[in-house]
């Protein structure tokens, strides 16, 4: 486990916004769902579409391409298009206000 600073201030991501970062070669999407931060692999498990800008409602992120919804807490998809969960990463707040992510 490695705690990695995203260099992004939590206050810079507004509610329902998504921000993509590349950390350790991984494309990760940070999402603000009603003030809670989540980080998931930025690649839809249905057709590998990038999830950036996907719609957030409650704690679900929808893929912009065909609309698959993923539960940001668990990565689990709803519906029939895919049964493969998204990889999720733990997010925490550093003392300086930056978001940090647990990479494995």
């Amino acid at each position: 486990m490695a705690t990695t600073d995203t260099l992004i201030l939590a206050t810079d991501i507004t509610n329902s916004q998504t921000v993509a970062v590349t950390l350790d070669g991984k494309n990760i999407l940070i999402c603000n769902a009603n003030g809670d931060f989540y980080a998931v692999a930025n690649l839809c498990t249905h057709q590998r579409a990038v999830l950036t800008g996907g719609r957030i409602r409650n704690c679900f992120l929808a893929c912009p391409l065909h609309g698959v919804r993923f539960d940001l807490r668990t990565g689990k998809p709803l519906g029939e298009l895919t049964r493969v969960p998204l990889k999720t990463y733990d997010v925490s707040l550093a003392d300086n206000g930056n978001l940090q992510i647990e990479l494995d």
């Binding site: 409650n58 609309g67 698959v68 298009l81």
Partner: protein, 460 residues
């Protein structure tokens, strides 16, 4: 008896004790006209064959002649707040994309790709355009065809109308309705007199504070009927009798599509002559799940007041505080009674100043022996504050109890009691040698009304 009764009523006999209209005479606030209505035209007393609930043929008939013709509630407007948001409404074997296309504009498309027929959208969500996941045929959210990859292979479609087929859409009370029938009556005519009766309860201004669903192993009508009479209170919910005027309920029908039951609350059941006012007050607060507080602690019945009045005044004050508005014009009845409307065929809504409960009973896909039972609670919020986000639907597993859904509070245990009958009724009807049910003339008249209305569609 009220002079408003002009026609022969279904089942002229009534339970002894104070009727609902008698209780209204005791209101100190002017009683709105809709509460004074008392209409239940005579519909007959014949047995009804169980085939309507258990036969595949009957289900097929409903599939052909009922669901394609009725206005049906799909979702709340607040469920799809932004342009491009959509809800997938499924009824029996049909699938519809209900989409917001403008600030106050909705469209409903047949959820089937015009290329090779795949459903276009798999689930609720948001889309800038509808891209079919199979080969990529695309429509804008207004249903205009945008193209398909390898256009050179589809020149034969150039002259064809490739817009997504639509069905009719209408809204009332913050609900979005659809109708598959192009020649249907207007939603306004269909709903009448519901909007008039809900004039004091602007449901479109309320938000969905809870939404719970679960599959129940019974026909959708068995589910609906479990909430259409208070006669079953005595045996099924006996713990609420100290504050429920079950057998003194009033049952009304209004045209083909609307019926109502009003069960007086804050009064003891006529089956329980010994209950004291203090017991009624304590139990209604603790057990009903619909009052402003669910604890009787610190509540003392003031001398000379009835439980009905005391609880209504408590509700008036506390409900008023929650929404930051005075409820001086609310009758005790609207503050406390169980006033439940049915909108044909499968939606039920409560009036009143507590959270407005909504029930819906959908056939479980194409299976006539099970249904999806949904409950929503519409809630008020203080004027001038931001409308809270609607609750996400909580889908319980078939083996879960309704009391496992904390968001519906005291309703959960009551539904569990109802649930103990629903699947059992289906099973018993299948086993029945009598092959028919007999209905109480008055107390179960709304069930007869439901079936007579269904017949009007099936025989049309």
């Amino acid at each position: 008896m009220s002079e408003l009764i002009k026609v022969k009523q279904q089942g002229e006999a009534r339970c002894e004790g104070l009727s609902y209209q008698d209780l209204l005479d005791d209101e100190t606030i002017e009683v709105p006209a809709y509460l004074r209505q008392n209409t239940n035209p005579y519909m007959g007393d014949e047995d009804i064959g169980v085939g309507r609930w258990i036969d595949r043929d009957f289900h097929e008939l409903e599939k052909k002649k009922l669901w394609p013709k009725v206005w049906q509630m799909t979702c709340r407007e607040e469920d799809i707040p932004e342009v491009g948001d959509h809800h997938i409404y499924e009824i029996v074997d049909q699938s519809i994309i209900v989409t917001r296309t403008g600030e106050n504009e909705f469209k409903a498309f047949i959820n089937s790709c015009l290329h090779r027929g795949r459903i276009l959208r798999d689930c609720d969500g948001h889309a800038e355009e509808f891209v079919c996941p199979f080969h990529g045929a695309t429509w804008d959210i207004n249903g205009e065809f945008k193209g398909i990859p390898c256009k050179w292979d589809f020149s034969h479609l150039d002259q064809k109308d490739m817009s997504l087929p639509q069905v009719k859409v209408g809204t009332w009370g913050g609900f979005i309705f659809i109708n598959f029938d192009e020649n249907c009556v207007s939603l306004e005519d269909y709903l009448s007199p519901l909007p008039e009766h809900f004039a004091r309860f602007p449901l479109h201004d309320y938000y969905k504070g809870a939404h719970v669903e679960r599959v129940v192993q019974c026909n959708w009508k068995v589910g609906a009927e479990a909430f259409m009479e208070s006669f079953h209170t005595l045996e099924t919910h006996s713990e609420i009798l100290t504050f429920t005027g079950d057998a003194n309920s009033q049952y009304d029908t209004f045209g083909d599509h609307v019926s109502r039951s009003v069960t007086p609350m804050g009064v003891p059941s006529p089956h329980m002559p010994e209950v004291t006012e203090a017991e009624t007050m304590r139990d209604i607060l603790e057990l009903s799940g619909r009052m402003a507080t669910d604890s009787a602690e610190g509540h003392e019945m003031p001398e000379g007041l009835t439980a009905r009045t005391y609880v209504a005044e408590t509700n008036r004050e506390m409900f008023g505080e929650i929404i930051g508005e005075s409820l001086d014009q609310a009758t005790k009845s609207e503050l406390e009674d169980a006033i439940l409307y049915m909108l044909f065929p499968n939606t039920q809504v409560w009036t009143g100043y507590h959270g407005n409960i909504v029930y819906r009973f959908l056939p479980n896909g194409d299976d006539h022996n099970s249904c999806i039972f949904e409950t929503m609670i519409l809630m008020r919020y203080p004027k001038g504050t931001k409308r809270p986000e609607p609750a996400m639907k909580n889908t319980l597993r078939p083996d879960q109890a309704f009391s496992e859904a904390p968001e519906i509070g005291g309703l959960g245990p009551v539904f569990d009691q109802d649930d103990s009958n629903m699947a059992a009724v289906q099973k018993g009807m299948i086993a029945s040698r009598k092959g028919a049910v007999s209905l109480a003339s008055y107390q179960e008249s709304r069930i007869r009304h439901l079936h007579q209305s269904i017949d009007k569609y099936l025989n049309a």
